[in-house]
Amino acid sequence: MARIRRVVVVGFDGLDPRIFERLLANGSLPAFARVRGAGGYSRVATTLPAQTPVAWSSFATGTNPGGHGIYDFIRRDPQSYLADFSLNRFEQKNMFLPPRAVNLRRGEAVWDVLSKAGIPSAVIRCPCTFPPDDVKGHMLAGMGVPDLRGGLGTPGFYTSDPGARRGESEHLIPIQLAGDTVKTRLIGPRHPKNRADLEQAMSLRIDRAGRRVLIRVDGTDGELAAELGGWTGWIKVKFKAGLLQSMSGMVRFLLVGLDPHLELYVSPVNFDPSAALLYPISAPAEYAKELAEEVGTFYTTGMVEDHGGLNNGRFGEGAYLAQCADVMAERERMLQHELSRLRDGFIFCLFDTPDRIQHMFWRFLERDHPARLAAPVEGFDDVIEQHYRTCDAILGRVLEALDDDTLVITLSDHGFTSFRRGVHLNGWLLKEGLLALKSGVAPGEEAGEYLRSVDWARTKAYAVGIGSVYLNLRGREGEGIVTPDEAPALSQRIEDGLTGLKDPITGEVAIRGVTARSAAYSGPFAAESPDLVVRFSEGYRASWTTAVGGVPADLFEDNVKRWSGDHIVDPALVPGILLMNRSFRSEGARLVDLAPTILAALGAPRGSAMEGEELLS
């Protein structure tokens, strides 16, 4: 067998073994079948918790989360209890320097080891690569890249319907028609000093005969035509952030309605990959621009697909799928570009879209899903299966171009399951007397989010994030009351109390178990982990409000959102899939085994902190 000169890893986020194996067996996935035939297939164990940034970070570094420090999408500052995004943060050393992005995924990634060994890599859209690492080769950051507002994607919705109400995480911009024209504005980032919205004037002209709207944005040339129901191309926009600075972004539009109301959706303002950016999204910094010149401009935000627009009902499933198709196509163009030019070394490319599709369309697999019952919709039952076929087609085109000396690895970071019922972890802690609210404050809406109303002097444990529970530890938390002596017993009590928790409505066990940090994490960043990680049964997950530190009175609620599938359950229930075109050990494969496998295949030394074992026979 030829010596391996190149390793190509094609990630398909969230592909589930059960769906995959069924489709593989019935011949629906010929490319995957070809890879299996050349080598093999197995399930691959995911991380605790089974969250995308955690899993891909463990894939990249070959360590448990204690080796890279990413435990949940949401982390909290123990001193202030304030929640924040886990993947990165912004710091500003003093008033004379710009704010800088800091990647909070640490540890040594497989591409760091390869770079040291002089072996080039092309890493496209791996989560937790913002700001991107200095790598020998090229890197385009993935999940974690903000939009121009610094969040993960705040779209806009223009409507002439006076009854429209603002949805979650969006700008709602009421518009008035003057004949067939509208004068309005595009909302950009916040001014760095006074926090006011930076805007660009925008005008809309309705072409009723053509069933479209013509959009002009100040400071840009030409007019963008938005056809009813179709996503437009990109328009690049500059927002003046004061006398001297401007920030470059880009947006695209979707004309959702003309009659009786004009309804126009605009994507979050993405960083323009061709512009000089305040925060580089690629390494080298010019790579994003070169890539855009090669394959056309592309979405740069870390969470690309506009699930918010769909969740808020701003547009329908069809439009969402059209966008997903665009994203898959542009991602494939990036991968093909690197395949054609990097002949020796390591290529990684992640297709996130399968994960988003399954989140939004899982309700079509279950007639009685609460989301389905809340908002009945027909006609999308085979979307998920179709998407697996789309992934197969992409893989097929990758295989066409390859030679004998390339090791192909294709995998997912976790599987998928239903999200029907949310569990209010703080509601449980409240009921158990382990969490207290400030006197006079009622749980639920009054208590608010972000642990705002928690009475820390009477609270022993709290939950924030998607399954993480923390002890209010003295000496670590800002107003901790639990002593280190009390902690193990308290931890055990919570573990015992939550394990086997029954859902009174369904009679099912919602929580299969709880893992204490000492049993799960080791390494330089183990001390940053949550104290307890909850392992939910299929169908269950930490509730929406738990993720942002809400404290409801109840323990359970239906999930009626279109985001109806998820995977942040007991990791044993949602392994991923793993295939290689050379035979490999298929017993007990784990995500942390991939990094050593890749390094060994390319003749590079093993990373010193890596925990896994090579998989190739």
């Binding site: 929640a83 994607g153 918010g308 989140h359």
Partner: protein, 486 residues
């Protein structure tokens, strides 16, 4: 508040405040205020930096340029040094109030000033290897450990060897910044002031390559971008300086004057000879420097010295040894000479636009030996040539070596501080306003000897405090759009 002055000798506002690529500079401009800064007359490194530091005009300091008459004899000019200017400067006021200062390369600071803190000698240091150019003396060894041979200037910067010149200037500047960073991080200071002289040298050495309007400009020159590259280098170094600061610092980026092209040199003494005002015993057959001329002092009324501008001296009875002009006629004579200088034509016969100043009209005090007139030929688009024997009045070569630019009357400044009430572009700021402004922002008293006015004049504001009230709103925005949680 601490005070940091980043001195960029000769920085031109048209580049410093307008080149979009200078990101650290532009961030400072955004954070604070900026504008052109009117320099003194004459706009020359010595005494301009000390005029700024003391907030006193050249006449009050008794130093009218790099070289000055020390008495009314015909002995020629003496070079100024640190001892020539001992007036109360910003760092002295800081010391009065218990603060320590670090001065690096602030002209003139050779011999090194005995400040309360550290003083590293400027470009006037004859030989940094041999000379004691630091105070305290121990600093010299520390600097040698950091950068090896420290460099205070590029000797022979008026040269045609442009490749060599570029290398020398950049290397010198990098060493300077290395020393600056070391003391910023490790010394105890409340006032820190350094001057990069490389920028002045790079302007003089490369302006014709940079400025399309320069008579000698070659658009295909390989040195076209040297000046712009140097500003980029400075911007990058400034970025590294900013990394070492804390919020309680007043930051000033400033130049002592600007830069502009030279259209040529005006042979002022040649002209004076032709006008019969300067009488020589022997006409030189070749180009001869003024101090080598055989002057008939008993018949001479006026003489001048070369340089970026002209100092014009009168031979006055009772003042000079062989004075000719009656004291009673002094003023009317001076007016006449002023008028004739102002009327001078350029090499095309058009009015040169020369500016002529009477020291007693532009300075509050006159100490030591002021010139009788100061002339900016062609508003400094022409330099002054002291030698005689050119056979004509307008020349392209410089008598001291190739030099592409003159100084301009306006330098630039950028000022940022958390208690600064000014924002955006400020007009009308003058070099002498810097001292009172910085001392006020720094929280110091302003000595009465300072002539300028504070640009903030009692309006300093409280630095903004970060409220945690909007903490939750900020986090909500950070997490906006994360599908897993909403």
């Amino acid at each position: 508040m601490k005070i940091l002055i980043i001195g960029l000798d000769c920085a031109a506002p048209e580049i410093l405040l307008q080149d979009q690529r200078l990101t650290n500079i532009r961030r400072l401009m955004e954070a604070g205020c900026y504008g052109r800064l009117e320099s003194v007359i004459p706009p020359i490194t010595v005494p301009a930096w000390m005029c700024m530091s003391t907030s006193q005009d050249p006449g009050s300091l008794g130093v009218y340029g790099f070289r000055n008459r020390s008495d009314h004899s015909y002995a020629g000019l003496k070079i100024a040094n640190a001892k020539s200017i001992q007036e109360l400067a910003m760092w002295d006021q800081v010391a009065r109030e218990g603060g320590r200062s670090v001065l690096i390369g602030v002209p003139p600071s050779y011999p090194p000033r005995k400040v309360n803190g550290i003083c590293v000698g400027c470009f006037l240091t004859p030989d940094p290897v041999a000379d004691e150019y630091t105070h305290p003396a121990s600093v010299k060894a520390e600097i040698a450990n950091l950068v090896g041979e420290y460099e205070v200037d590029v000797k022979g910067f008026r040269t045609d060897r442009k490749e060599w010149l570029r290398g020398e200037i950049f290397r010198m500047s990098k060493k300077l910044f290395q020393v600056v960073r070391h003391y910023l991080a490790n010394a105890d200071w409340q006032y820190f002031h350094f001057v990069d002289i490389g920028l002045d040298r790079v302007h003089h050495g490369f302006w014709s390559h940079h400025d399309p309007q320069h008579v000698l400009h070659d658009p295909n020159s390989p040195f076209r971008d040297v000046i712009r590259d140097y500003y980029l280098h400075l911007d990058e170094e400034i970025g590294r300086v900013l990394e070492l600061l804390t919020d309680d610092t007043v930051v000033l980026v400033v130049s002592d004057h600007g830069a502009q092209r030279l259209d040529g040199g005006f042979c002022v003494n040649e002209w004076l000879v032709r006008e019969g005002l300067l009488v020589l015993n022997q006409q030189p057959k070749t180009v001869t420097a003024f101090d080598k001329l055989d002057v008939n002092w008993a018949k001479t009324k006026v003489w001048s010295e070369g340089g970026y501008y002209a100092r014009v001296f009168f031979n006055v009875k009772g003042r000079e040894p062989e004075g000719v002009i009656d004291q009673a006629d002094y003023e009317s004579f001076r007016d006449e000479i002023k008028g004739r200088l102002e009327a001078l034509p350029d090499d095309q016969g058009k009015p040169m636009g020369t500016l002529v100043f009477k020291p007693n009209e532009i300075y509050r005090n006159l100490r030591n030996v002021p010139p009788d007139l100061i002339a900016h030929f062609g508003a400094l688009y022409w330099r002054s040539i002291g030698g005689v024997g050119y056979g004509r009045l307008h020349i392209q070569e410089n008598d001291t070596g190739p030099d592409d630019c003159n100084h301009a009357q306006y330098g630039a400044f950028i000022l940022a501080a958390s208690n600064l009430p000014l924002q955006g572009e400020v007009s009308g700021a003058r070099l002498l306003d810097v001292g009172p402004t910085l001392l006020e922002l720094g929280g110091y008293d302003v000595p009465s000897s300072m002539q300028g006015r504070s640009l903030v004049a009692g309006a300093t504001r409280q630095p903004p405090s970060t409220t945690s009230a909007d903490g939750e709103a900020i986090i909500k925005e950070r997490l906006a759009g994360l599908g897993y949680i909403s």
